[in-house]
């Protein structure tokens, strides 16, 4: 192994390639946004379930936003959606389009649906007039966050 061979142009080229690979990998890794949409939709379901069901009893909620302490302005902006279904009735608020977006998400790949909302759905059993009823809660979030 002679000195000329060690410090050749090839060596610098290899360093350049290694540097390029590291820089690209680092930018791709740190450039990814932490996705909290699904966590927020799960939390929204918990908040609504706590509001609509108190110790197993179904609560007739008049104004969801006021009674459940949800910010109506933020829901009107279109970043969140919820739908609480019980018996033949349902109460919803926010961006209705999320039901379609979350339906489409199931049929499309992750890359093409990355701008769609993420949704969660859970059902609960509650007592209403001593009758067991099924309470379905669907919630979605499309919060991305960004520079301001």
């Amino acid at each position: 192994m002679s000195g000329e061979k060690v410090l050749s142009l090839w060596m610098f080229l290899v360093w350049g390639l290694i540097a390029l690979a590291i820089v690209l990998a680092v930018f791709i890794f740190y450039g990814q946004e932490a996705d909290i949409k699904i966590l927020q939709s799960d939390i929204l379901i918990d908040r609504l379930a706590d509001c609509f069901i108190d110790q197993g009893q179904f609560v007739d909620v008049g104004n969801v936003f006021e009674d459940c302490n949800l910010n109506k302005e933020i829901f009107d902006k279109g970043n969140f959606y919820f739908k609480v279904s019980f018996l033949e009735d349902s109460i919803s608020g926010g961006n209705k389009d999320f039901e379609i977006q979350c339906g489409l998400r199931k049929t499309q790949d992750e890359k093409s649906s990355e701008n769609f909302a993420r949704c969660s759905q859970r059902s609960f059993i509650a007592l209403k007039d001593n009758q067991e009823i099924n309470v379905e809660i669907f919630a979605g979030s499309n919060v991305r966050g960004g520079k301001f």
């Binding site: 909290i36 910010n71 966050g145």
Partner: protein
């Protein structure tokens, strides 16, 4: 010792030393780059904003949320309380003076009071949830 008496051997040793030094410089530079990128302000702003949003969305009145921000203490250029804003459904984190920050929406309609305090040398952001 014959290596030092031999001109060819001396050249070989010099080039080997240069090779090792250059390699060290290269890998140290790469290490510094990765470490610096991993601890940049924008990353902390996004991390804190989202962490706070998730915490306050599920918090009930009377709750105190405590977040250890010691890791990023050196990055805070702004007054700490000024750098963290929680109001009107939006958490805004801006650690550097004159630079843009990061904001995320939350859906909870409670009021949030934030303070900073130091416990055992660690800096904590405390958020009090009020009705």
């Amino acid at each position: 010792m014959s290596l030092f008496n031999n001109k060819k051997g001396l050249d070989l040793m010099h080039s080997t030393i240069i090779f090792i030094v250059l390699n060290l410089i290269f890998f140290l530079a790469m290490f510094a780059f990765v470490a610096r990128t991993g601890s940049n302000v924008a990353l902390y702003e996004q991390m804190y904003a989202k962490e706070i949003v998730l915490a306050i969305d599920q918090a009930r009145p009377g709750t105190t949320i405590s977040i250890n921000v010691e890791d990023s203490r050196g990055l805070f250029e702004k007054n700490l309380v000024e750098g963290v804003k929680i109001s009107n459904g939006e958490v805004k984190i801006s650690l550097k003076k004159g630079a843009k920050g990061y904001s995320v929406n939350y859906f909870s309609d409670y009021t949030f009071e934030r303070t900073f305090n130091e416990v055992d040398g660690n800096l904590f952001l405390k958020i009090q949830v009020e009705e």
